[in-house]
Symmetry: C2
Subunit: 187 residues, 2 copies
DNA sequence: GGGCAATCTTGTCAGTGTCAAGTTGTGGCC
DNA sequence: GGCCACAACTTGACACTGACAAGATTGCCC
């Protein structure tokens, strides 16, 4: 309508960026395709061509997120480092993280999503396998559940500002590092 | 409009029940005030009188959830039991749990919500204080973060069906009980 | 029994997601 | 170089939603 060119250039990327921005502050609920279109300076139906659906857009974000997470976990030195990297990912990509674990917003059967998810899952499994072989009879499967649960819970509570009062001005990563030791003797 | 009486009787409770039903399967996104009104057999604007807003309805659910959680945690025998009860609460009240930790859907300043939240927080703190006094220099604050993170992460992943493949047919509560021991030696 | 407040209805408005059909630009193929 | 198929985008429409305003009904309390 204005003096903008008919073709945006990289509308897909622009929409994704705007969506991440909105989700990071207002959550997936605050997302409006028409609003994203306005921000990108295109008509209200333009996003549909790239993502088909609202669900399609969120699914694309989740898939991208799993790719980023897999890359982050691939460089983990040991198991504890994997946990730290997991939380760091959640803090650096809060929108991705939130969407990745909201299954009711995603197209579960999407191929791009399922392969990306398999990738990040494998990265976590690898991090565990390389660090702690089951010398003491510890099940690798249980180890994965334990590390994943601890890191995921910490990250989720952190993003939801549920730990603000508890952490004070401490570095969350340092606190996370200390948690396993705290956990064991007391239980 | 039909032969139903003008006054519903307990519309507030009916709307809440229907909302919990919808959220448990479709998440908070799938919630529609008009749909809830239809289910209860009232006009589309009736719910507003009890909850003011969509946000008001979700805030009421979150407050109720914190009350239920506080009651469940109050009976915890020890710290590990508190974790188990936390996860059990999440499984028995998935809609409450989901809404309670979606701050962007809630009216943060709501009095009923903040007092209920303080109640559940106190219950968790109590469970920790009674069980594990800081004999070995362990910070109670860290213990709370640790137990909360582990239980919260486990519950969240469980509800999101992220552990289905890992758990098999095992009892989630038993697996959770084993996690702290798994966690310590390997990290 | 009369009024009054709580409860519920009807009507309306702007905003949204999605679909269908048309327009405009681009790259490739001869 | 010209043409054509296809991708990218627009316009228009429809049903649905949350929210608001104003009116109707009901039960309760003095």
């Amino acid at each position: 309508m204005s003096d903008r060119p008919y073709h945006h250039g990289d509308l897909r990327r622009a929409i994704l960026a705007a969506a991440l921005d909105v989700i990071a502050t207002d959550g997936p609920t605050g997302l409006s395709l028409r609003d994203l279109a306005r921000r990108a300076g295109v008509s209200h139906a333009a996003p549909a061509h790239h993502f088909r659906d609202r669900t399609g857009l969120l699914t694309a974000i989740a898939a991208e997120g799993h790719g980023l997470l897999a890359a982050a976990l691939a460089e983990a030195a040991d198991l504890r480092d994997a946990g730290v990297r997991y939380v760091r990912f959640a803090r650096e990509h809060p929108a991705h993280f939130q969407v990745m674990f909201s299954p009711e917003l995603l197209r579960a059967a999407d191929l791009e999503l399922t392969t990306a998810r398999a990738l990040s899952a494998a990265a976590l499994t690898d991090a565990i396998a390389t660090t702690a072989p089951a010398e003491d009879g510890t099940d690798a499967r249980l180890a994965r559940i334990a590390v994943w649960s601890l890191a995921h819970g910490f990250a989720t509570l952190l993003l939801g500002h549920n730990l603000d009062g508890l952490l004070g001005d401490e570095d969350p990563e340092e606190v996370l590092r200390a948690l396993p030791m705290v956990l064991f003797p007391s239980v």
